[in-house]
Every structure is written in structure tokens, then in C-alpha cells.
Amino acid sequence: MGPTPNPSSLEASLRDVVGADQVLTRPEELFVYEVDGLTHHSARPRAVVLPATTEEVARVVKVCRRHEVPFVPRGAGTGLSGGALALGRGVIIECARMNSILQIEPEDRYAVVQPGVVNTDLSKAVLHHGLFYAPDPSSQLVCTLGGNVAENSGGPHTLKYGTTTDHVLALELVLPDGSVVRLGSPSGWPAGYDLVGAVVGSEGTLGVVTEATVRLSPIPERTETLLGIFPDVVSACRAVGAIIRSGLVPAAMEIVDRRTIEAVEASVYAAGLPTDAGAVLIMELDGAAVAVGAQAERTRALSLAEGARDVQVARDEQERQRFWRARKGAFGAMGRLAPDLYVNDAVVPRRKLPEILEAVCAIGDRLGLRLSNVFHAGDGNLHPNISFDRRDADELARVLQAGEEILRLCVEAGGVISGEHGIGTEKREYMGLLFSDDDLEAMKKLRAAFDPTLACNPGKLFPTTRICFEANPKARGYDQVPFE
């Protein structure tokens, strides 16, 4: 079927490690792996390999090293910054088959998982212990914990619970030379440099995570979810500020604007959100039963004082889930407007949300783009969503321009260029907005300590000198970018 087997070829060596079935090399198969959740960047891998154990991963890495081929770990491919693209004709190490929960310790409140375990599957598995895994990216029904570790994923509940880095206690990592190391311990980082902290959010540039020990949190005794209906996004932003100023610590505060409401309500994730509202604010309070009721009442009063037309309280768990499904299905629902969606991910100081939101919308309008907002308002983490068609070169150019203008705007306002999606290929050229050459040089030194040959997920995170994708509607040519 395939080309004549050459026993010394990369492909043959990979087959020796994981078996012929678990190595994909047909052009059509590689085509499917050319993108992740960010569709306007693409790079075709040389091969895709699906290992089942840490040992197999280590051997795969050694094979790649021997053949001087770069490699990149991949989970569900839901990342939004191009983190799972195999640049330089690299090998994708697909971790989806490594999906076992290895250990659950309810008393010590941690679990040990393989990287391919789906985020919500862990929460489901520990539910009967009264525990859950707190970081909840919107793609949590499908995204993997390995990917969450690589990108330091957040989610709506980051406001109270923190991002992935606050929940990872220990890691097993296959280093780019094929050796296996264990970092951290279930009891936390013992002493010295926090290497677990360095690996979380490193976007797969320091090695391949093959096991993670993660913190489990007790399910709050009571949860109240409120839906504030506002005449416009700006008043919803002001309500967020007022609630935080009052000293309350909501578990989540999410804003969904009118254009997003319309798309969601037309989808299977419809939650009965009012399509005539300018914005809705989903607010969640959780904690001890005695406290939550009063807090919800205060939240409600503050929202009304800032101009909410109405504040609904989820009557039961079903309604609560419906509100959240609408929020979390929003990204996909935007697919109803156009074939592609670009989700910008920048953070600004909360107090500046109202003015930044107005400026962001103005950028979209000026460039004639379909821009909507659904975002983690409590953290000041914006997600301007731009619907577009990547086959339209002019529209794509305007999308990229809007993305850059929004990032500059946010940085000028004292913000940062990524809240939770990572830098990947998408924002590597903008690292200079935040970091000096010296800063970047220091980061490169850290990286080189793990990966001296720069074979592990090359082309991500750090700026390159060449930008050769903007002229190309499908951004082909990524694979030609040298990885150092």
C-alpha cells in the first residue's frame, strides 16, 4: 500500500515502536492534522504517531532525535494559538490514546492522570467523592489535560479558582533527549526552583508531559447562578466592577454580547437567553450554603443598580447547566455566521473594561468585520471573536490587522497578550510588545536547559524574523519557517 518500507527510515522506526497501526503517513491523514482550533494557520506534519505509554513516548522522541526531526505533542487539537502545529515537517505525538486516570486519592485530594484524559472526564470520575477538577476551559467536554498543562488553560471559574498552574502538583515529562523525569510531588513543590511551574504553560516546548498529578477541589456546598440582562455591554462591564469592588468573590463572571446571544440561541446550545438584550452577564457564587444566598442577593442588587433590566436566578441544576452550555458552546455557535472564527485573547485591568470594549468594537467596525464578544469579564480576559472566511484574502488580512490593533490597545492599557490560549504561532511576533530582547533571551536560556537542540515544538512562543504568512490566505508556508 504505502511506499516501499525502508527499515532505516523515520516512519519505519516509528512503526517499530508503536506498531504499524499507530503511525499515520498518508498525505490525506497528514492533511487532517495540519490545523488545530486556529484554522488560518496550518502546517502539515511528516507523520502522526499515537503512543500508548510513557515508554513509547520516550522511544518515539529518541527516534525523532536520531533522525533530527522535530516533534510536537497534541491532545484534542482544540487550542486556539496554533500550539499543536508541527512546524518544520515535524512528527505529531498524538496523546489521545493515553487516556487513563491512574490514581484517585480523595483524602489527599489529588488524581494522577495520563495526558489524553479529557478535562470533564476527570471531574466525572471524582464526582462520587464530592470532588471536582476546577479549571474549566470552554472546550472542557473534549480538550485534554495534557493540552491544558501545556497551555496553562483557564476557563470561567479562573476568577476564584485560578488557572491550570494552580492545580498541577507534579509532572512526568519526557525530555527532548528521550529521558524521563519526574518533577514536583503530590505534596507540592518541596524546595528550590519551581520546575513544575516552568513546564505548565510552556506550550510543549520543554518536553512531552506523560503524566500529571493534579489537585482536586471539594464541590461547593451550594452554587447559585445568576443571569443579568443588560441593555449594553458597557453597563454589564460596570456591574462586574461594582461586584468586585464590593468585596464579593464570585466563582465566575462571564459576559455574552448580543451578536453571540443570537448565534447561540440559533444553535443546539440555546438556553433561552433574550435575543433583544445588549448583553447578558452570567454570575456564579459558590461556597457554604449559609453564605451563598446572601451573596447572590447582593450580586443581584448590584447588577440592578448598574442598569440590569432583569436578573434571573437558575432555578435548578438543569437550568444552571443550560446557562453554562450556552456560554461554552458560544465559540462553535459562531460557526453559524462564517466558516472561520478568530478568537482574540488579551487581558486588561478590570477597571478599563468598559472603554476597551468600546474601542475593540470600534476596531471591528472600522475594518468592516463581524466582531462579537463573549469573555471572562471577572478576570478582564477579553475574547473578541471575529467571524470570517479564510479563503477571502482581503478579509483575512483585516482580521489579522484587527487582532494586532486589539493586542496593542490592551498592552497600552496595561494588559497582556494572552489570558489562557497561549502564544503559539499566532502571537509569537507580538511577544516584543511585552518583553525586551533581554527578557526573551532569558526565556530562551530556560528553554535550552530542557531542549538544547530546539527540537520540541519549534517555532512557537518566540518571535521569528520572518513573517511569510499574511499574504497567503491559507497561511501555508508555516512549515517553511525555520525553527531557529
Binding site: S139, S267, V268, A333, G335, R336, P339, L341
Partner: protein, 435 residues
């Protein structure tokens, strides 16, 4: 690349996918393989790539078009509204026309779908022969000499009832008690042959609830299996025949009386209050007739109701007799994902006194039956079935209820091979038993 007809037509449907990936874990084949190529998102990307000429129409698409079970769980998960079922039918048609599908699976399928299933007499005769062979034990006698595949297929074959059980339903069954309306019943092609008792139970329950039940004699196979196999022309022919059959039968009767609790207050398009179907696969196909034959199919399509959905809508009269059993309900893919019916059967079962409806971990996942998938892809089908049986076994039901003949056969064979002491039943049978 040579111009392949059909690709252009399916291309717009692929643009609905925004590549978010929310479908991945809903997909039974992705769950087993962990491969993007075997996921709904990957398959749509593959189709788009072929349609846009980025990659050749080759074996990967041919394999994936048939490795997909067509369960449509991805449609339930898709926020962007990708019509995956329709894309799949078109993709299979493209693959077949390009001559990419060969081998025994294709030949068996063509024989079954073109020659046997749509022809009641051939099907009746063939299954009659099987029934006699089963009764005399002839099948077991020759079994050891048959090739492995044939032996596996034999394991899936249900016991074919005797000819007396396989008689057609009466063309009109009067309502019992005060009449609430008039419905047509779609009996299916395989249902009357293998699950005649289930069809009779359906008619009995409908009549008991005050509905006159008409079974138009000219009705044909729904065409679902043919359409799923890419045989769109044959499916279209069957669809047209059914539009005529139900239209004529509806016109013959008196206009239905709008007694309280009837299904529709406005004048029904076909002359019936509803066209009731008890097989989820057929129901899903009939509901989407307009996809195959356009507006011509819309009146019929718009009136199709699953039997549980219909009974739940009109409301059951009287209280059922108690049934003191633990029952696990399992959603047929083509009921929950293709027709959006999930609560109605559960509500009907819960209304039976003393019946304990138990939840299980995997109610909405595919069982691996998917038409004749269990014959064409036995290994994948077995892996998918194993997950389903694990979930069902853990719930320890005395009865597993599900509303689709393919699922019933698959789960029956699976439960038997595990030695599970459990009865398989259509929810309507349990309703009939508690009348």
C-alpha cells in the same frame, strides 16, 4: 484531479464547521481510535480538502466514510449546526461513484439493499427459509464449515419467528373507546418480519388510546439503509413511493375529528393526525424525506412522529398496570440525535407504576449496530458495543428498553454473549403489557 460529481454539492455543507472540536468525544470511532481522521471534525476537514482539491479523493476518505457509523451524535454536540448525516450520505455516494469501494462488504450490501430489503416478497421468502433452517437446526449443522465472517454474521442473526408471527397487520384497526383521532402506522420492511410482535403491540397501544390505526398496504421500505450506504437513487425512489402511499391512504378516510387531545388542530397535510413510526432509524429517514426529494416530501416528513413521542404528546389515557422491574432505557442514536427525542420514552416508562427506571453511564452513545455496520466492521462494532454493555451491566437492569430494531438485535446478541440475564424490549412492548 478528475472532476467528481457530488463534491461540489457537498462543499457548502463542510463550511459550516468552524473546527472547534466540540464533536470529538461524542464520536464512537474517535473514542476508540483517538485519531483526528476518525472524528467528525477530521472527516469534515477531509471532505472539504477533497472538495477544494487540496488532497486527492483516495482511500482515507473511502475508509472513513464507512468507518463512521452515521450515529449523528456529533450533530447533537455541534454548536455550529453541521448537518453531518447529510454530508455523510453525500460523501458515501461520491466514494461509491468514484469506484473506491470494493470487496465483499460492498457486494453483500448491494445485494441486501437493492434486491432483498426493498422487496417484501423476497425478504419474506428469504427469512422464511432462515426460519425453517433455524427450527430444524440446519444452520448449526453447516456452521463449522462456513468462513469466519459468515459465522460471525450468524451470531448476530436473531431468531426469525414462524410464518404465523410474520403476518401483515390489518389495514385498519378501529379505535377503542372514545376516538381521539386517526393515525397511519409505518410498519417498516424488517420490523414485520423479525419484530412482528412489536408492531402488533404498537397498533394495540395506539388503538387503546383512542386512535384509529391505518396501515397503508402500498407503503415501502423507508430507504434509510440505502441512503446511508450512498444508494441515493434507490432511496429517492422509495421515498416517492411512500409519499404516494400515505397520501392516497390519508385521502380515502374521513377527515379526522378534532377531538380533545389530538395531535394537531390544523388540517393535517396527509389526512392523518400523524404518521407513527416505532423504528428510530425509519423515523429519522422519513422525517428528512425533504432532504432527498425536496418539497414533495415535506408534508409526509412534517407529520412523522416516533410512537413514544406521539403518545407522550397526546397523553396516555388511564393508569397502566404495575410492572415491578428495573428498566434501563437506552437512546437509539436515530431517535435522540437525529430526531431529538430523549425525554418522551423515559416519561412513558416512568409513568408505569412500580417500574424502576435506572440511569446508566452511556445512554446516548452508539451501540455499534448502525445498519449492517456490525457485519462490515466487526472489530470496531465490537469495541463500541463493549463500552455500551459495560455501562448497561453496571446498572443491573432486568429489562433494557430501546426503540430501534437494529439496536435491539445488537444489544440482544451482546447481552447473550456476556451471559447477562436481561430482557430486551421496545418501550412500546412494556406499555402494551401494562395496558
Amino acid at each position: 484531479m478528475t472532476e467528481v460529481s457530488g463534491l461540489e454539492a457537498l462543499h457548502p455543507g463542510t463550511l459550516d464547521c468552524v473546527h472547534c472540536g466540540m464533536c470529538l468525544t461524542s464520536c464512537p470511532t474517535y473514542q476508540v481510535t483517538g485519531r483526528e481522521t476518525s472524528s467528525p471534525r477530521g472527516r469534515v476537514y477531509l471532505l472539504r480538502g477533497v472538495a477544494e482539491g487540496e488532497i486527492p479523493l483516495a482511500e482515507t476518505l473511502a475508509e472513513e466514510a464507512y468507518l463512521c457509523l452515521g450515529c449523528r451524535a456529533c450533530e447533537t454536540a455541534c454548536p455550529s449546526g453541521v448537518a453531518f448525516g447529510s454530508l455523510l450520505e453525500q460523501a458515501r455516494s461520491v466514494v461509491d461513484r468514484a469506484g473506491l469501494r470494493r470487496g465483499w462488504a460492498k457486494r453483500i450490501e448491494q445485494f441486501a439493499l437493492r434486491t432483498v430489503v426493498p422487496r417484501p416478497r423476497v425478504l419474506h421468502g428469504l427469512l422464511g427459509a432462515v426460519s425453517v433452517a433455524q427450527r430444524l437446526g440446519l444452520d448449526r449443522l453447516v456452521l463449522p464449515w462456513l468462513p469466519r465472517r459468515w459465522r460471525e454474521m450468524h451470531g448476530l442473526l436473531p431468531r426469525i419467528p414462524a410464518a404465523s408471527e410474520r403476518r401483515r397487520l390489518p389495514e385498519v384497526t378501529p379505535a377503542i373507546g372514545e376516538q381521539r383521532g386517526r393515525v397511519a402506522f409505518f410498519e417498516g420492511c424488517i420490523m414485520p418480519e423479525v419484530f412482528g410482535a412489536m408492531n402488533r403491540a404498537t397498533v394495540r397501544v395506539l388503538a387503546s388510546q383512542g386512535f384509529e390505526v391505518v396501515v397503508p398496504a402500498a407503503q415501502r421500505c423507508c430507504g434509510a439503509l440505502q441512503a446511508h450506504a450512498g444508494e441515493l437513487e434507490l432511496a429517492t425512489e422509495l421515498a416517492r413511493a411512500n409519499v404516494i402511499a400515505f397520501g392516497q391512504a390519508g385521502a380515502q378516510g374521513d377527515a379526522p375529528e378534532n377531538a380533545p387531545g389530538t395531535a394537531s388542530a390544523t388540517a393535517p397535510a396527509t389526512g392523518f393526525d400523524a404518521i407513527v413510526v416505532n423504528s428510530a432509524g425509519c423515523g429519522a429517514a422519513l422525517r428528512e424525506l425533504d432532504h432527498w426529494i425536496g418539497d414533495e416530501g415535506a408534508p409526509l416528513a412534517g407529520q412523522v412522529r416516533d410512537v413514544c413521542e406521539f403518545l407522550d404528546q397526546v397523553g396516555m389515557r388511564g393508569t397502566p398496570r404495575p410492572l415491578s422491574k428495573r428498566v434501563a432505557y437506552d437512546d437509539p442514536c436515530h431517535l435522540i440525535h437525529a430526531q431529538g427525542v430523549a425525554d418522551a420514552p423515559r416519561r412513558l416508562l416512568e409513568a408505569i407504576p412500580e417500574l424502576e427506571l435506572v440511569a446508566h453511564q452511556d445512554p446516548a452513545g452508539c451501540c455499534g449496530a448502525a445498519g449492517i455496520y456490525n457485519l462490515t466492521h466487526p472489530e470496531m462494532s465490537a469495541a463500541i458495543l463493549a463500552k455500551k454493555l459495560d455501562a448497561l451491566e453496571a446498572a443491573r437492569p432486568a429489562i433494557i428498553a430501546t426503540g430501534n430494531p437494529g439496536c435491539l438485535m445488537q444489544l440482544q446478541a451482546g447481552a447473550q454473549s456476556r451471559g447477562m440475564n436481561v430482557r430486551l424490549a421496545h418501550p412500546i412492548e412494556l406499555l402494551a403489557e401494562t395496558l
